[in-house]
Symmetry: C2
Subunit: 221 residues, 2 copies
DNA sequence: GGATGTCGTACTGTTGAACAGTACTACACT
DNA sequence: AGTGTAGTACTGTTCAACAGTACGACATCC
């Protein structure tokens, strides 16, 4: 694989996995489409073995399904996938918020501050990252690396959907709205009103889900 | 790789991943030990590329850490890992139980019946599988394939610890105890007493965790 | 005409050998 | 001590090959 810099920060396999992930999530590789190893290898100028390794990464990340002797097929941003994705977040975040203690909210405060800082930048990528980092910090309160890495898996996929949202959704043009959705959570958390914080988070996430789904539907039609 | 039957149900890579997982979880591969590709390939009589693919599966399953140009190192069943593993289960199962509806308990009933059936068999592997399947059925009520596959990931690791438990723990010799722990959950669920079912599940899981940790400690010493 | 064989093609699964690049160790030089 | 400098042991990646499997097309049989 091409590598302009002399320093290799990531491996070919990882680059390839990222590339494929982006193609799948952006729809360039259509849902259900078979992913032929040799084709990908030829197109990208890498070895078939390298493609296989990359596909294994995607598989565990849930982006492709791999059937023996049939290879990998791309899964797609169907409504069900989105539902599962967002519902998983609700489960994790609500549990985290409900069990939060005062000493734990430090990192969440920090992530929130960062989000405020970036909100006006207009840089979609940074906003989305800060958004996800905020929610990641909430999950981090569970203090469970297992769950956290599960969330990060979801997060990677979410990133693409959210980029979409930030770029195309009017609502997101007003940074105040981006912020206010998170402030209600933050306020409740600060006040130690955990049950309410969880409820706010649930509705915040549901709200976002609805918007992503609507956007998705409008694109398909 | 050897394959007695003419039918190939799993691929070499998967067998290899399972084999390595077992070695790691059973302690045959000591924590922090480097996993040299060529050594494994030579020992098992498979190609190095095949080993790499298997290692990628383990990596995403959390059983090894992979550093660029340094290869894979085995992680180990430390108390923290166990804590995370079991706490993840508590989070998921309690949420599932709390949100259960009457129509959903069918599969759980079925899994429970199966567990009763196997309890007296004395076959450790079958008991553990039935046990995990029961808890899997509970998680299944969430109707979230994403979460379910996360649980299955945990499940695979848990399997080894539990095998250990069933074989070496006195408590498990009496099948009545195996069953009763699950019956309390089942009863509460049947009665529609969801909050209690969740509490029972939490204590059941915590109880098991404590036993596994004790066992682990006694082995190390 | 529908069920059942049989081929051929297009892949996947797996191997073995090769080579460049990197981490780590030991040893020499100042 | 502090800094080169090999040397060694792997990893990262590629390539070419072959066996085995899935699937579609076509032929056969009743």
């Amino acid at each position: 694989m091409i590598e302009g810099q002399s320093f290799r920060r990531t491996t070919t396999v990882q680059q390839l996995a990222d590339w494929l992930a982006e193609r799948i999530l952006s729809g360039a590789i259509t849902p259900g489409q078979r992913l032929r190893e040799s084709a990908v290898a030829a197109e990208l100028g890498v070895a078939r073995n390298t493609v296989r390794e990359a596909v294994r990464i995607l598989e565990l990340g849930g982006l492709v399904r791999h059937e023996v002797n049939r290879g990998a097929v791309a899964v797609s941003p169907t409504p069900e996938v989105l539902d599962d994705l967002y519902e998983s977040r609700v489960i994790l975040e609500c549990t985290a918020l409900r069990s939060a203690t005062t000493e734990q909210i430090g990192p969440v405060e920090k992530a929130y501050a960062q989000l405020l800082e970036v909100a006006d930048s207009g840089n979609a990528h940074r906003i989305v990252s800060a958004d996800l980092a905020f929610h990641g910090a909430i999950i981090g309160m569970l203090n469970n690396s297992r769950v956290l890495s599960f969330y990060e898996q979801l997060s990677r996929e979410l990133h693409f959907y959210l980029m979409y949202l930030v770029v195309r959704d009017r609502e997101f043009e007003q940074s105040s709205i981006v912020v206010s959705g998170h402030r209600t959570i933050m306020d409740a958390l600060r006040a130690g009103n955990l049950e309410q914080a969880a409820a706010e988070a649930a509705s915040h996430i549901e709200h976002n889900k609805a918007r992503v789904k609507a956007l998705l539907a409008s694109v398909v039609s």
